[in-house]
């Protein structure tokens, strides 16, 4: 029998170190967290000649330190950790670096390591260890390399640990130092009013600039401060405070967790604070414009929502570019009154004690996204949603008040004018009164027209919303009943009747089936125009959009016995817009033509859509064979309300004109074009083809 042991190739040291902690700042942070866990009050990170390879990084602290036994049995045992998040340190800190492998990645940054430590209470002895990684590279197994801990007498007082990473394998870039500085500052909650009792210093020029930014603390100038809390029972509450700390609004759990008001959040106790800044000049005291730029810069560095677990920050939440709550996406979908990471800063402070635990991944890339994490995220998102709804309600109220105030102001101004007019010499008074009355009448007429246009848009929107809401009942189920029963009917006719009798009934069944098909397409074509993804802005292939729209509207122009011809250029022009914008142009022009055919009883009905692409523009010509533009001036056809049909909305061409202009193009019309009827020319700038 032979007694054997596992042995590890030195390659495993390289693999573990490189694959666990990939970034420079995260590696150094692990050494800093070790200092925090050692109850240090001060940790200093110094960089020497690190702008090229071969430099040195020193991390020193005044923590509890280690004796030779601790170094041998704990520090040198990779993968084992004495720290568990259940056992606080003697200073009451919840250990931050619990994986035991954290320091390996940092240690591997240098070709040599020097460790020196003085244990608290045994300050006459200093224990040091020197590691030369090249010795491992030439060894067969990790165990074959002997390390020596040297213990010497020490004459000075003090305790703590110094780790030096010497002969760095690569240079450290300025951006990495900046990122490290940011991470170090955020590590132990600079948001709080009380000091965490753990101070970090970094000796690098980028540090002082960023530290100044944090120390300045613009929180008091936030326009809104959302303060939400989750208690031990998973019950949420929220308050909204203004810049003075006055409570503007508050809510209880049921108003926050609207989808499931009875259900508590299965997440750890936590506090979520978000400070939002409106960032408009003049909103700050004395209207100093420089404050806005300072705050923008501060938010640029520290904006976003950070997570702290037991007073230590957990990356990457709130890192530059990390929007884990999708605040920016929510704002893009609904920009009114929503925060973004550019105008807000927040923190979620989580307690790791209790039945619900968040566990960090081994590679320090965040928490394991289990149900506890999802519940915590839901709490934060629901709180933000409550804030958004409250602000929207305020905005609506403000608009309504503004409208009322505008009316009252107009009346007051009219009265002021009348008073002022009395001071004008009598001979001039009449002329001025007439001029003012004419002006007021024109403005009133314009306002009335705008109100009618708004009302019509609202009515049309309501019709669309109603159609979409009841699509299931109005077009789905009755049509489904018809379709299914027709199939049964067809089958039974064939089974039960003689062949010569079948035709009489089957021909009727066929006609019902065709009509049902037409009804079905009517509903799906209408709904097809309002799908939300069509309103998303992105690259729009013009030819594909035109072709898809023609296909979508086919039931309509086929039913009107119309021939549609596409004469598209061989290129593929595209623009940056939404499908909905482009569809609204062509749907309205086609509707226009079809209505013209109907009104005029046109015998030969044709629509032609032609495109011509030059380098950066696309000309689109839509012509029809209808009666043309008659009985109305060409330049008036674009005005809202101008229609030749009694049942028309008079908005179609207005929408075409406004949409084309929004896309940066121009639209014009001629009364009788190439097919004899109206012809519209759209000239659009394109991104390419």
């Amino acid at each position: 029998m032979q007694s054997v042991n596992f042995k590890f190739s030195p390659r495993i040291l390289a693999r573990l170190g490189e694959e666990l902690n990939q970034t420079f700042d995260q590696s150094i942070l692990e050494l800093v967290k070790n200092a925090y866990d050692a109850d240090a009050t001060l940790c200093k990170v110094e960089l020497f000649d690190t702008s090229s390879a071969g430099g040195t990084i020193r991390v020193s602290d005044d923590g509890n330190g280690m004796d030779s036994d601790s170094i041998r049995d704990a520090w040198l045992v990779l993968g084992k950790s004495d720290k568990t998040s259940d056992r606080p340190t003697s200073a009451g800190r919840t250990p931050a670096g619990s994986k035991g492998l954290g320091r390996l990645a940092a240690l591997r940054m240098g070709k040599e390591i020097r460790l020196a430590s003085v244990k608290k209470g045994m300050s006459r002895r200093i224990h040091s260890l020197h590691i030369d990684w090249s010795e491992f590279e030439s060894a067969n197994a990790v165990e074959d390399v002997s390390l020596s801990i040297v213990t010497e007498k020490k004459t000075t007082s003090g305790h703590g640990t110094v780790v030096e990473l010497r002969a760095l394998r690569t240079a450290v870039r300025a951006e990495e130092v900046r990122k490290l500085a940011r991470s170090l500052i955020l590590l132990t909650d600079p948001f709080g009013d009380k000091s965490s009792g753990f101070q970090i210093e970094l000796e690098a020029s980028e540090f002082s600039d960023i530290e100044r930014l944090v120390q300045t603390k613009y929180f008091d100038e936030a326009d809104y401060h959302l303060s939400a809390e989750l208690d031990e029972e998973g019950i949420a509450s929220v308050r909204l405070l203004d810049w003075r700390g006055e409570v503007l609004a508050s809510a209880k759990h049921a108003e926050i967790r609207r989808n499931e008001p009875e259900r508590p959040y299965a997440a750890p106790t936590c506090n979520f604070d978000l400070w939002t800044f409106l960032l408009k000049s003049g909103n700050f005291l004395q209207g100093r414009k420089s404050r806005v730029s300072e705050i923008r810069q501060w938010l640029g560095h520290f904006g976003g929502v950070h997570i702290y677990q037991d007073r230590v920050r957990v990356a990457p939440y709130g890192d530059v570019g990390n929007d884990w709550l999708q605040i920016n996406l929510s704002r893009a979908k609904s920009p009114e009154e929503r925060p973004s990471t550019n105008n807000s800063i927040g923190r979620l402070v989580v307690n790791s004690r209790g039945p619900y635990r968040l566990t960090q991944k081994t590679d320090r890339s965040g928490f394991i996204e289990d149900e506890t994490f999802v519940e915590l995220t839901s709490f934060a998102l629901d709180s933000l949603e409550w804030l958004a709804k409250w602000r929207l309600a305020q905005a609506e109220h403000r608009r309504s008040t503004e409208r009322q105030q505008a009316r009252e102001a107009a009346e007051a101004e009219k009265s002021s004018f009348t008073q002022a007019l009395l001071k004008v010499p009598e001979e001039a008074r009449a002329a001025i009164q007439v001029a003012f009355t004419d002006y007021a009448t024109s403005r009133d007429r314009e306002a009335d027209a705008l109100r009618r246009e708004i009302q019509l848009y609202r009515t049309l929107s309501t019709a669309g919303i109603t159609a979409a809401t009841f699509a299931h009942e109005s077009h789905g189920n009755p049509l489904k009943v018809i379709t299914l029963n027709l199939k049964s009917l067809r089958r039974r006719i064939v089974e039960l009747l003689r062949t010569d009798e079948q035709h009489r009934l089957l021909s009727l069944v066929e006609k019902i089936s065709v009509s049902a098909g037409a009804l079905s397409t009517l509903g799906s074509a209408t709904l097809g125009l309002i799908r939300s993804e069509k309103r998303k802005v992105g690259k729009v292939d013009l030819h594909r959009t035109i072709t898809s729209l023609i296909e979508l509207m086919e039931p309509f122009w086929v039913a009107r016995e119309t021939h549609v011809e596409l004469a598209l250029s061989p290129e593929n022009p595209y623009i940056f817009a939404s499908d909905a914008a482009f569809e609204s142009i062509f749907a309205n022009l086609i509707n226009n033509s079809l209505n013209a055919f109907r009104q005029a009883g046109t015998a030969t009905r044709a629509i032609r859509i032609q495109t011509l692409v030059t380098r950066d523009r696309c000309k689109i010509v839509v012509s029809d064979s209808g009666p043309g533009i008659v009985n109305v001036k060409i330049n008036e056809i674009w005005l809202p309300g101008v229609t030749s049909a009694s049942d028309g909305t008079g908005l179609g061409l207005t929408i075409v004109r406004d949409t084309v202009r929004d896309l940066g193009g121009e639209v014009s019309a001629i009364a009788h074009g190439q097919l004899g009827g109206a012809e519209f020319l759209i000239d659009l700038p394109i991104l390419g083809s």
Partner: protein, 225 residues
């Protein structure tokens, strides 16, 4: 009276739809199959209450997708499809919604048809596919293959995400849009960050790459690379 499908005799078919007229129309088809039709007319309190009345040996189900318009059911037909799959009960989903977007449940619904394509043959085919899969035998169009999926966009809708994906092994040029439960995606925030930074991300999933139409595709067992 029964319907013989593989080694099973289907004696009853339960019809689930929130509209009694539509249920009636389906039941006419069931009548023509010489099978007893069961009109599920009472509100469905929960999955257990529904399946407690269904014989796993001799019953099948025709189910509509949209069931929550009235107070008939708290969930839609895709949820019942998954429950039927778990209990090895033959099932067909029918709906007028085109395309049939069933989120992550398509894996458990071997056949889903638009109302226009519903018929006796469709029911028979659906039940055959179900019973085959319950015995571990997948048709070419339904067989799950672990494959790379490229995600080119994602948008949240509550607890569900709409993903724009390309399955290079199925069609390297055209993408499809799918709805996936957030809980089935690994490393969600890392995924979002990657897409935000680079415009795309990659995962693997079990996909029926033999599908001939994008409506048949299902995605399950998502994993990071």
């Amino acid at each position: 009276m029964s319907l013989a499908i593989l080694n099973k005799e289907i004696r009853r078919i339960h019809v689930i739809d929130d509209d009694p007229e539509v249920r009636g129309a389906y039941l006419e088809h069931v009548k023509d199959m010489d099978v007893e039709g069961i009109d599920v007319s009472n509100s469905i309190v929960n999955i257990e209450s529904l399946f407690s009345t269904i014989d796993t040996e001799h019953d099948g189900i025709i189910c509509d997708y949209q069931l929550t318009g009235r107070k008939y059911s708290a969930c839609n037909g895709d949820v019942f499809g998954k429950a039927a799959y778990d209990r090895h009960i033959p099932f067909i989903l029918s709906s007028h919604f085109k395309p049939l977007s069933l989120g992550g449940q398509r894996r458990y619904i071997p056949k889903a048809v638009a109302a226009d394509d519903f018929g006796i043959d469709a029911v028979r085919e659906a039940f055959e596919l179900c019973l085959g899969e319950y015995q571990g035998s997948f048709s070419l169009r339904r067989r799950p293959i672990r494959t790379l999926v490229r995600i080119e966009g994602m948008k949240p809708y509550g607890a569900v995400y709409q993903l724009n994906v390309v399955v290079p092994n199925w069609n390297p040029t055209d993408g499809v849009q799918i709805l996936i439960d957030a809980s089935s995606l690994p490393d969600l925030s890392k995924l979002q960050a990657e897409i935000e930074a680079t415009g795309e991300a990659r995962l693997t999933a079990e996909v029926n790459t033999g599908a001939t139409d994008s409506n048949e595709l299902y995605f399950s067992e998502w994993k990071s690379l």
